[in-house]
Every structure is written in C-alpha cells, then in structure tokens.
C-alpha cells in the first residue's frame, strides 16, 4: 500500500516534469515563427512562398512538445 502510494506520487511528479518539455517546444515554435516574421518583414515578397516551410518547421518543433505531452499522459494513465 505504501509502495503503491509512492508509485502513484512518482507518476504524478514524473508527469509534471515531462510537461517542462512542452515549454521547450513552445520556445522552439516561437523561435521559428518569430524568425519567419523578422525575415518576412525584411523581404515581404519572398514570404508568401515560404509559408509551407514555416509550417513544416513549426510542425517539427511542435512534434517534440507533443512527445513530452505523450510521456506525461503515458505516465499518468498507462504506467
């Protein structure tokens, strides 16, 4: 019983720690979007052609945040 409670406690702490990873992904996405905007303001004519690249970059950066979210969920519900 004590062990089970400790394990449950550990799961929650682990899940919470995993959520820190989402912050990293948030910074990544912000970095991509911000740099895109900075570039787009310098050369607006080239921006339209690069939106696909923007979204691909955001998707890659975001995937890692989703992974940490997944780890959190797995810890909470599946472990």
């Amino acid at each position: 019983m004590e062990l089970a409670a400790a394990a449950a406690l550990g799961k929650f702490i682990g899940a919470g720690l995993a959520c820190i990873g989402m912050g990293g992904s948030a910074m990544g996405v912000g970095n991509v979007a911000g740099n895109f905007l900075a570039g787009a303001l310098r050369n607006p004519s080239a921006a339209a052609g690069q939106t696909a690249t923007l979204f691909i970059g955001i998707a890659f950066a975001e995937a890692l945040g989703i992974f940490s979210f997944l780890v959190a969920l797995l810890l909470m519900f599946a472990v």
């Binding site: 019983m1 089970a4 409670a5 394990a7 449950a8 406690l9 799961k11 929650f12 969920l73 797995l74 909470m76 519900f77 599946a78």
Partner: protein
Amino acid sequence: MANTTTTATDVAEGTAEAVGHAADAAGHAAESAGMPQLDFSTFPNQIFWLLVTLVVLYFILAKIALPRLAGILADRQGRITSDLEMAARLKDQAQEAEKAYQQALVDARTEAGKIVAAARAEIQADLDKATAKADAEIAARAAESAKRIDEIRAGAVASVSDVAKDTAEAIVAALGGKADAKSVAAAVAARMKG
C-alpha cells in the same frame, strides 16, 4: 484520470484525502489502462473502419469529385480566356468603329468646307455680277443725268444769254440808244465768258 480528479478536487475543496485516493487510483489504473488510445482491444475495429473509410473516400473523390472539379476549373479557365479574347476582339472592333467614325467626321467636315466654299464663290460671283450690273446702271444713269444737267445748264446758259440780251436791249432802248441785236449779243457773250 481518477488521479487528476482527486488532485483537482482536493485543491479546489481543500480536503486532504489524497493518499487514499492515490492508492485507489493506482489500483484502478492497473485494472484498466486509463488512456482509451492505448486500449489495444479496440485497434482492429478502428483500423478496419479506417481502411473502409479511406477506400470509400478515395473512390468518391478520385472517381467522381476530383475529375468533376478539375473539369469545372478547366471550363472556367477556358471560358475566362475565351471571354478575354472576345473582349479584346470587341475592343478592336470598337476601336475600328471609332476610327471609321472619326474618318467619316473628317470627310464630312472637308465636304462641308467644300460646299461652303462653293456656295461662297457662287454667291460672290452673283454678287459681283449684280454689283457690275448695278455699277453699269449707275454709270448709265449718272451719264444720263450728267447729260441732262449739261442740257439744263446749256439751256440755262442760253436762256440767261437770251435774258441778258433782252435785258441789255431793253436797258439800251430805255437809255435811249439803239442797239442792233448783233453787237448786243457779242457784248453779252463777252461778258458771260468774263
């Protein structure tokens, strides 16, 4: 999820039953995986229906919708190009018509100028003729008048010399002289010239 429930309510309600709940929750989680996404017993069902759906969708889209849409877009493109060509052609026609109109206008203007000039020349000729005729008439009349004036003057001079002769004879007779007509006439003629 029971775990979230308990923690959240505990926070909200300020109760302290977490330990017991957590223990319960741990037991519960062991008995059924909390995430429906990881419930492998539902996977065959989902995958089967997904494949059915994708195949159905593919046939609907690839056999009916996409060719139709491609056709619609191609039609529209063709129609737009043909409409643009038609518009260009109509514009050309309009420009030609305008050119023709301007040409006609210029022609009409020159024609009108010609007509005006001809009319003016004709009028001028008539006028000249009339002026000449009138001049001739005036000249004739003037000559006639001059002749008559001359006649009148000559008549007047003759009558003046007659009167002068008569007067001179009468005066000479009254003065007691006897004057022959010839010398009186010569004297009057000399005086008249003087």
